[in-house]
């Protein structure tokens, strides 16, 4: 595995840091910073009992990260409580998604995992009430362009992001996990029906373990932006590691994926987690998802694209094909969001009309 970037080698085996000199630590921390995994690296080294072997200068950086991450976690918990208060009267469980869910539910995946936005899932029919309640408590929409508003409200799976007027934190209110215009439509009613309350947090809930994995997989493998690709793959690795130990989890996962039309992203998750991070997946589960994969020619191509885009977004990890690979996946991500004609109209609007309006305003 010497061909892998240093950060990934350390994520696979933290004891690899024992061999690092000053230049090695420099590279490791830069890759971790670029991948938004510096706080996770700290958790990993601490759990492995390696923190005291770290030389003083990189150790200081890790301690700065600890302080920053603790402040971040405290602010995020406060923000979740405020959202809970804003939505208190609506009689809805507050279903948290992604980073906020991992942190509030105390999952492994939440330790050292920073997140800038808080994502929640509500029924589509209740969106107007939820939006009004958030506005009453100080969150305001961030996209004022009429076209952007229509883009979100008509086609997307979420409201335009809302930002708190005073605290500046953002919230994404989802009613589904994929856009209305995407070719597959995981049924949000099924996701909400399987949601689980968080122990000790009366109002808060997360998706079920299988659905959390599937949402993380679809978020990573159907999206066009890979700037946090490795971070998202680490999320999957940690979710699979923790839930995989629970009875029944692995057996149910492939069937649940098919039920939600998410067999393909699960296939990719179970391919690249073991390949890059050494995640242990039972052979029977690997066999069960083979039929959800692409044809061999496409798989060959996807290996080359994801094999690059899932590395840290750092100059030291790039080769000549890294930029084309990211661009190809960007196009693919948009393709998976909208049918071709609508996508063409959307890109035309963003390229010419939005730009024109902005330059008129400026």
């Amino acid at each position: 595995m010497t061909g892998l970037p240093l950060l990934i080698r350390v994520l696979r085996d933290p004891h690899a840091v024992r061999a690092l000199d000053g230049a090695g630590w420099d590279l490791l921390l830069r890759q971790a910073d670029a991948a938004n995994l510096d706080a996770y690296l700290l958790v990993l080294l601490e759990d492995a009992g390696l923190l005291d072997t770290v030389p003083a200068a990189p150790r200081a950086h890790l301690e700065w990260t600890r302080v920053g991450a603790a402040g971040h976690a405290q602010a995020a918990r406060y923000e979740v409580r405020q959202i809970g208060r804003a939505l208190e009267g609506l009689g809805l469980p507050l279903i948290l998604l992604k980073g906020a869910a991992y942190a509030m539910a105390g999952l492994d995946a939440g330790r050292g995992r920073l997140f800038s936005d808080i994502d929640i899932l509500v029924p589509k029919a209740r969106l107007p009430e939820v939006e009004a309640a958030l506005m009453m408590h100080g969150w305001i929409t961030t996209h004022h362009d009429a076209y952007d508003q229509r883009y979100y409200r008509q086609w997307m799976h979420e409201l335009p992001p809302m930002q708190h007027a005073r605290r500046g934190n953002s919230i994404d209110v989802h009613h589904a996990i994929l856009p209305e215009t995407a070719p597959v439509r995981p049924d949000p009613d099924k996701l909400r029906a399987a949601a689980r309350p968080i122990a000790g947090e009366p109002q808060l809930a997360t998706l079920s373990p299988a659905d959390m994995v599937l949402h993380s997989a679809v978020h990573l493998f159907f999206d066009g932006e890979f700037d946090k690709g490795l971070r998202d793959l680490v999320d999957l690795h940690r979710l699979l590691g923790q839930f995989g130990a629970e009875p029944g989890f692995w057996d149910a996962l492939p069937a649940r994926a098919r039920e939600l039309e998410l067999g393909r992203p699960l296939f990719y998750a179970l391919r690249y987690c073991p390949r890059l991070l050494g995640t242990v997946v039972p052979p029977a589960v690997q066999a069960a998802v083979v039929s959800d994969g692409p044809n061999p020619a496409l798989l060959w191509l996807m290996d080359r694209l994801f094999g690059r885009a899932l590395l840290p977004l750092h100059a030291s990890c790039d080769d000549v094909l890294s930029s084309p690979a990211r661009f190809a996946l960007y196009v693919r991500g948009n393709w998976l969001r909208m049918p071709p004609l609508l996508l063409a109209q959307h890109l035309f609007h963003k390229a010419f009309i939005t730009k024109h309006n902005e330059s008129q305003a400026a």
């Binding site: 700065w64 402040g71 602010a75």
Partner: protein, 305 residues
């Protein structure tokens, strides 16, 4: 010890355009890469006495400030800042490259170095007593700092007061003092010996020139200081000099308002700031004449009689 001043211009340029110049400022190392000549001019003049570390080891901050490519290379050329491949700021006109280096070096510290409570304040020391001057804009903090440096005060910092979270000492980060607009001529008149960088006009802060930090302050960069006073200065034309005690609770809130990372640090920030306020006499200070201010600060340096 290798210093910037001991490198020839050709060597300095070669390092900056190659793997980078590793510049030590206080507790931090900065790897700087640049091909912009106004930046190299400013750096060569202002940082001549600073240590240069060998390349290829661990470095705290990786800064790159490069000239625009394409048509912009020739027409209205700009300087682009990247932090290890990311671009946190818009480019600026090429002539502002050296002030931009100073701002981006400040940004690296204030956004990352959370081992310190970081106050937007100048801090100087004399006779073992450090005085912190927090900086609401227009307070004349840098002018006062530049003047005091000609009167035997040691510069810990002009912009970033670093309070160590572990033991509460003030950790020096002596770097050039940023002077704006009228202050530049005031200091030229008050301190004819001062070494100033070439003034840069039309920045977002007006005209900017930097004053070189005293050689002795740079040499003592690893020697921390103990806080003695926190003084909120205010320059007012024609005002009589006045040093008034500021209640500690108000001082606490006003210093917190001037911190970069008070929120980030949470309870640790509260504890560190509380200890700093407890250890310091807190004042507001109004003045119109620099010589009067020098005399008063000398009394503060002597400590309680």
């Amino acid at each position: 010890m290798l210093t910037v001043g001991s490198l020839s211009r050709a060597e300095l340029t070669a390092r900056l355009s190659g793997d980078g110049l590793v510049l030590r400022t206080g507790p931090f190392t900065n790897r700087i890469r640049s091909d912009v000549s106004p930046l190299i001019d400013g750096l060569a003049l202002m940082y001549a006495d600073y240590p240069v570390e060998p390349a290829g080891g661990f470095v705290d901050f990786h800064l790159e400030l490069q000239r625009s490519g394409g048509l912009r290379r020739w027409h209205r050329s700009q300087v682009h800042f990247t932090y290890d491949g990311t671009t946190p700021f818009q480019p600026l006109p090429l002539g502002q490259a050296y002030p931009m280096l100073e701002w981006t070096m400040n940004w690296c510290v204030s956004h990352r170095a959370h081992g310190y409570l970081i106050i937007h304040a100048a801090v100087l020391e004399k006779h073992g007593r450090a005085i912190i001057l927090p900086a609401p804009p227009g307070s004349g903090k840098s002018t006062l700092t530049a003047a005091l440096l000609g009167h035997g005060w040691r510069l810990l910092s002009d912009e970033l007061t670093l309070v160590h979270l572990g033991d509460g000492v003030l950790v020096p980060l002596p770097r050039p003092v940023s002077l704006k607009n009228a202050s530049i001529d005031i200091i030229r008149a008050f301190r004819p010996d001062a070494v100033l960088s070439r003034p840069v006009e039309e920045t977002t802060k007006g005209t900017i020139a930097h004053l070189k930090a005293p050689q002795d302050s740079i040499a003592r960069a690893l020697e921390p200081a103990k806080p003695a006073c926190i003084v909120f200065p205010r320059w007012e034309a024609g005002a009589a000099i006045a040093l008034d005690p500021l209640p500690k609770a108000r001082a606490f809130m006003q210093v917190a308002d001037n911190c970069f990372n008070y929120q980030v640090l949470g309870a640790r920030g509260f504890t560190a700031l509380g200890a700093l306020i407890d250890a310091s006499d807190t004042y507001t200070f109004r003045y119109s004449s620099l010589p009067d201010a020098m005399a008063l600060f000398e009394r503060l340096a002597q400590g309680p009689a």
